[in-house]
């Protein structure tokens, strides 16, 4: 459904993405992992057109996404790495932001409170401002905003970072549940191998600007790639060194 071909992006002399090829099919949950600073967030930003790629193609339903961006965004939700909640609005207005344009505010508020409950935030949070939340609560409110309008395509940038293990497991289950129930397609970026197993159908490992390994999550434990195995096992490598090939 979404197809990324030869995506290249550099910031000044720094080559961040160097020919990324990636695809996401309908109803699929793709998990992207990779070292910190390898360009995972930049990859999502390029797909969304928030960052202009230097080269490469991004297709949606077989046509360039750039030509159908408004339509794409209408059925889209995104959790940013730092939540990116609007500080000037209370939490419930953040969550209901998209809904408020099509429905009366009382109904939008009810839906917002319900979505907040799904991410484990009580109704008392609804009237707080983002600055009054902890980091993990902000993340969860951002997650509630991403899923509030039942999107068809969802991007999650590190949904469980900064959460305790029990909350993280609940969020993993929630994301998996959304993909299963609504048939949405999702790209999740994570550093947490538990999340990979809980959320993903397919895994892509990003390294030095390219997709180094991709395949079904069920096969990742048997993959031959040494770097991937170190990633899964959480083994230290000398800083900056990569295995040959």
């Amino acid at each position: 459904m979404i197809e990324v071909r030869g995506l290249t992006k550099s910031f000044g002399p720094k080559q961040v993405l160097d020919g990324v090829d990636l695809s996401l099919s309908e109803g699929e949950s793709l998990v992207v992992i990779g070292g910190s600073g390898t360009g995972k967030s930049v990859l999502l930003r390029c797909i969304l057109g928030l960052e202009a790629p230097d080269a490469g193609q991004i297709l949606w339903r077989g046509r360039p996404l750039a030509d159908q961006r408004a339509e794409f965004m209408d059925g889209f939700g995104m959790l940013f790495q730092n939540a990116a909640l609007f500080d000037s609005l209370p939490v419930w207005r953040n969550v209901a932001f998209r809904l408020l344009r099509t429905m009366p505010s009382a109904r939008a508020r009810d839906i917002a409170v319900e979505k907040l409950a799904r991410v484990g935030l009580g109704p008392e949070v609804a009237d707080l401002y983002p600055a009054e939340l902890s980091g993990g609560m902000r993340k969860r409110a951002g997650l509630a905003r991403a899923i509030a309008a039942d999107p068809k395509v969802i991007f999650f940038d590190e949904p469980t970072t900064g959460l305790d293990p029990i909350r993280a497991a609940a969020i993993n289950a929630l994301i998996r549940g959304i993909v299963d129930e609504t048939g949405a397609s999702a790209i999740t970026i994570t550093h947490d191998m538990t999340s990979v197993r809980a959320i993903g159908d397919r895994l892509a490992l990003l390294d030095r600007g390219q997709v180094r390994w991709q395949g079904p999550v069920s096969q990742m434990d048997h993959a031959q790639d040494e770097y991937l195995q170190d990633f899964i096992a959480g083994r230290a490598r000398p800083m900056g060194s990569h295995p040959a090939g």
Binding site: R45, L48, L50, F86, D87, F97, R98, R145
Partner: protein, 252 residues
């Protein structure tokens, strides 16, 4: 060859920036009315909450103007012109310019800091992913609120400035209260006031545009927001003085 090439390059960069700002301004102006509640909120912030600072500025300016004109006018036995000159000076020049500069300090900085912070914390990107045009949601309401509110602020400033002159005139310079007031109105023409109000609308546009432009193009974290704020106030202030000169030349 070198210097010519450098000048050429700078010229191209300048032209490009002007073009970008022009397109940005045009988009900001044309996306009005999409979010009336935001427009109302911005009018409260930009207009209503600027009243105290604009009022105080006008009060002190009018008072000081009365003292200056009195002492200057005495030199050729023309101390009586105080009320008329204060009124004309406030309405045509000092009301709009000083009011505009105070609003530039208060509003351009606030807009640039708010939008800049939103930019560097990805809130503007989040708007895009929520199918909301950042220009329509953030820029248009601010630009239109400033264009609509500044003339009102200037009008209020004119009245308070004349009051400031009257206070000094009556209490320190020995004018009769009723004579002072009737002399203020007697020589004031409609166009004196009208031109000042029109200037106000242009100044409002300049203030909000520079706040929005520098805020929206902020980068590099907190330092970038700081730089955007500084640039916005400087650009708004210089812009007001430049536009004032152009409009004054055009009007009179």
């Amino acid at each position: 060859m070198r210097p010519i090439r450098l000048i050429g390059r700078a010229g191209i960069a300048l032209t490009r920036t002007i073009g970008r700002v022009g397109i940005f301004a045009a988009r900001g102006l044309t996306r009005a009315g999409a979010h009336p509640s935001e427009l109302a909120r911005q009018m409260l912030h930009i207009g209503w909450l600027s009243l105290p600072v604009v009022g105080l500025t006008a009060l002190f300016t009018g008072a000081a103007l009365a003292l200056q004109i009195h002492s200057g006018g005495e030199r050729f036995q023309a101390g009586d012109v105080v009320p008329a000159i204060v009124a004309i000076g406030m309405a045509r020049e000092l009301g709009p310019v000083l009011g505009g500069l105070m609003v530039a300090a208060r509003v351009a900085s606030a807009i640039a800091a708010e939008l800049g912070t939103m930019r560097v914390t990805e809130q503007i990107d989040a708007l895009v992913t929520l199918s909301t045009d950042p220009v329509g949601w953030l820029v248009s309401p601010r630009i239109w609120a400033a264009i609509l509110c500044l003339p009102v602020l200037v009008g209020v400033g004119d009245i308070i400035g004349i009051m400031g002159g009257w206070l000094i005139g009556v209490n320190a310079l020995g004018f009769n209260s009723a004579t002072y007031l009737s002399n203020s109105w007697a020589y004031l023409e409609g166009w004196d006031v009208g031109s000042g109000l029109i200037k106000g609308a242009f100044f409002g546009f300049v203030v909000a545009l520079s706040g929005c432009w520098f805020g929206m193009s902020a980068g590099n974290g907190a330092a970038g927001v700081g730089r955007a704020t500084t640039n916005a106030v400087v650009a708004a202030s210089v812009g007001i003085l430049a536009v004032n000169f152009l409009l004054t030349g055009l009007f009179f």
